[in-house]
Point group: C2
Chain length 458, copies 2
């Protein structure tokens, strides 16, 4: 909890950029997920790193919790200030500072959103490929180690953050990484802060790796009789070295939802959605090779989308699938699972999940990033029906157990936040205690996003 | 220093797998570099993780330093037990434990060498691409965050280690990462241990990402009038998205050395050595595109090596360049620098280095991984001439200052060890203190490879 002394000092520092208005607190207490709202005691809107450092020093002096806020689009309540204190909203630190075209990198403030960055880069021939769906801030995407549909080709935030500027719990400012493409100069601090969900420091600047806009793009959708056939086609495609830019799977329940939502009439079967990037000849070769592999695995014919409008329609359908699923039962809420398994176990993991959900009467259409072995079940429940909610929660837990038994992880891209902390001991064993020791070394007073990621004792 | 109680307990535990013979101590006191030998008090040869954990518990009880040893091929004295104690030699933990072909990953013990692993994988159609030149152990390569000629395409050890088993300073055993392709489940412990040079824990198992053996390979060598032209050709090639598998540069002094060593007659000009991997059509397209770009930048004609024997000769020449350079002055020793800069600054960095070496009468042929912006000058000195040695040391320091001013790093791939610790404060500022805090949280008694990476106070 914040104390009056901290809030007074912050108000003196920030003036109009500090607020305790109810509407602002409510706005920063909500999340995209099913967790109850947690309005903070105050919201700060810094404009500079120096201000963030001073906010941190004030809060350290008074023992006031500090929680970072990007766009509030994280899916596990990462930005919720569960122990009160100050939310630091980075929306005013939203400048693109420096584009280095020859080096294909960019230096930005953390409040720049993914779409704003790509808009800014449009004329350069470069783009930032990580795409979690939401128009999230890049600081938030780094903090949650986000990824999405393009990770199979371009990697996750782990792979695309070259360096950071970070305000530590005591207000010191450090720079991690460099603009060099690689370094072995000591511990990988950049990698440590990426995915730490604001518990180790506040990200005030990012240097990101960019990629060349592909000369040619081609996309397609293809139905299969079974999930196993679809996944085996993808495994073969990866093995042969075809660099798919996206490769997504939707299950029959998701297709049903999309058909109803968008007035489409796709067959109610598992589908793969694929996209290729490269030179014109390269994309053609990739598509041909993929087509042959799909045929070997019983694929039921392709629908190619080579022109931009058709491609946009295809990926809009994919990105709207979540809303299409929610529209199946107006008023329902959902738990969005995020397990990730070795791809050899993916078909089994999805099929066992479908059988489990059927057996326990849980509605949970499935869609996923098949190239990474990562899939989401949207487990729906009526908020007025506690029994249904528990059935959904229990099914989510069994999905995690199944993923861990297969050598996978509880979360491929959504992070821990409030929703997955209960699985940390299971997934990491004593490694979870190691995370706690690291947290304690950098934030001994537990001021940075307390109640997240690490064990409670610290 | 080890005490008798620790050594007695270790001898009881390990029997024949524990030695204090002078030859063994001498062997484990040396390094590939110019640092004076530091024979440890004893050498342990564990066969299992349980033995490593017990060694660590004994040493923790008695306050005895522990330094990990792979093949002793690190270049900055990383394996030298500068404060005595026990060297843990992992050469008996050299089994490939599990190859997962569909998932393209492998689980191994840390003593498996790069060449042994690829020999083992030969029939699978898969390979492990990271290639630092030496036939290093994979545990050691992870510990130093090694890379080499193929990093431009396949990444460094940071990108190719999926998970680790680690014995902590108190003997606890943890597993980091999973076999899933991505995860956002808390702090990236795998990334923290990779590159930590044995200062945070002992790596007892690794899960590595594998890649498909390319269907077609093609390589070439090409001369340019200037380093600037050569680098600009590479920048354009990267921007256009041609996925070069290797792209190396050698300066005229290196060409002179290679000509003398191998009886060749390459023109004494900067050269690029390049290799493409892909499908037959893909490699052909890459080579054609590269050829056009090279011509635009004044490249002086290609010598293609499409058949394996010619390719092998080309890369043997590259790997032997170091020995060719040393042969210029028999009996000399060398400081091998390893700066890495943004590629837009690479030509400038190399040209300024050549001018600086000339001005200070230091002989230092240059070769590098141009796609990463990483290059090595082999600064030679006569061990009997202290003035020449200081000139070489000072030139190395100026190279680091220049790299840092350009947004680069003191070491792209060789790591810190003994040779680069003096640059850590300059490169990381307060970030170096953060590394110290992390070290203290996991190894409060400073038993694991003491004297390396972090500040001395800890």
């Amino acid at each position: 909890m914040a104390n009056d002394a901290a809030l007074n000092d912050l108000a003196d520092l920030l003036g109009q950029a500090f607020t305790r208005s109810k509407s602002d607190l409510d706005l920063h207490g909500r999340s995209e997920s099913h967790f109850p709202p947690t309005p903070p005691d105050a919201v700060a809107y810094p404009s500079t790193t120096a201000e963030v450092a001073e906010i941190m020093r004030i809060c350290a002096r008074h023992g006031c919790p500090v929680t970072a806020w990007g766009t509030g689009t994280s899916l596990e309540g990462q930005s919720q200030a569960v122990r009160g204190g100050v939310v630091v909203d980075f929306s005013r630190m939203n400048r693109v500072l420096e584009v280095n075209q020859a080096d294909m990198d960019v230096r930005i403030q953390p409040g720049v959103t993914r779409e704003a960055l790509n808009e800014d880069l449009r004329a350069t021939g470069l783009f930032f490929p990580v795409d979690p769906g939401a128009n999230a801030s890049l600081g938030g995407m780094a903090a949650t180690r986000a990824s999405g549909t393009t990770a199979v080709r371009y990697g996750t935030m782990r792979d695309n953050v070259l360096g950071l500027e970070v305000v530590l719990a005591d207000g010191r400012v450090i720079r991690t990484g460099t603009r060099a493409r690689k370094s072995s100069a000591g511990y990988d601090l950049t990698g440590l802060f990426v995915g730490s969900e604001g518990t180790l420091g506040l990200i005030t600047e990012l240097t990101l790796r960019l990629h060349g806009q592909p000369e040619a793009v081609s996309a397609a959708v293809c139905a299969f009789d079974s999930i196993g056939q679809a996944v085996r086609a993808v495994i073969d495609t990866i093995q042969i070295g075809v660099p798919m830019a996206r490769i997504e799977i939707v299950d029959p329940a998701t297709v049903r939802a999309v058909n109803a939502y968008a007035g489409m009439s796709l067959p109610e079967l598992p589908h793969l959605l694929v996209e290729f990037h490269g030179s014109a000849a390269g994309v053609e070769e990739q598509a041909r090779t993929f087509g042959e592999i799909v045929q070997d695995h019983g694929g039921l014919g392709f629908d190619w989308a080579s022109d931009p409008a058709d491609r946009k329609a295809l990926w809009t359908m994919r990105h709207n699938a979540f809303y299409a699923i929610l529209a199946l039962r107006p008023g329902c809420r959902s738990i969005v699972t995020d397990v990730c398994v070795p791809i050899s176990r993916l078909a089994e993991a999805i099929e066992e999940t479908i059988a489990d959900l059927d057996a326990h009467q849980v509605t949970g259409p499935i869609l996923g990033h098949v190239g990474d072995g990562n899939f989401h079940a949207i487990l729906m429940f009526d908020p007025a029906d506690p029994a249904e909610e528990s059935r959904a929660m229990e099914a989510a837990g069994r999905m995690v157990d199944r993923a861990l038994a297969m050598g996978g992880t509880s979360t491929g891209e959504h992070g821990i936040g409030l929703g997955k902390r209960g699985y940390m001991a299971r997934e990491h064993g004593d490694g979870w205690q190691v995370m706690g020791a690291l947290k304690q070394s950098l934030d001994p007073a537990n001021l940075l996003n307390p109640g997240k990621i690490v064990p409670d004792e610290i």
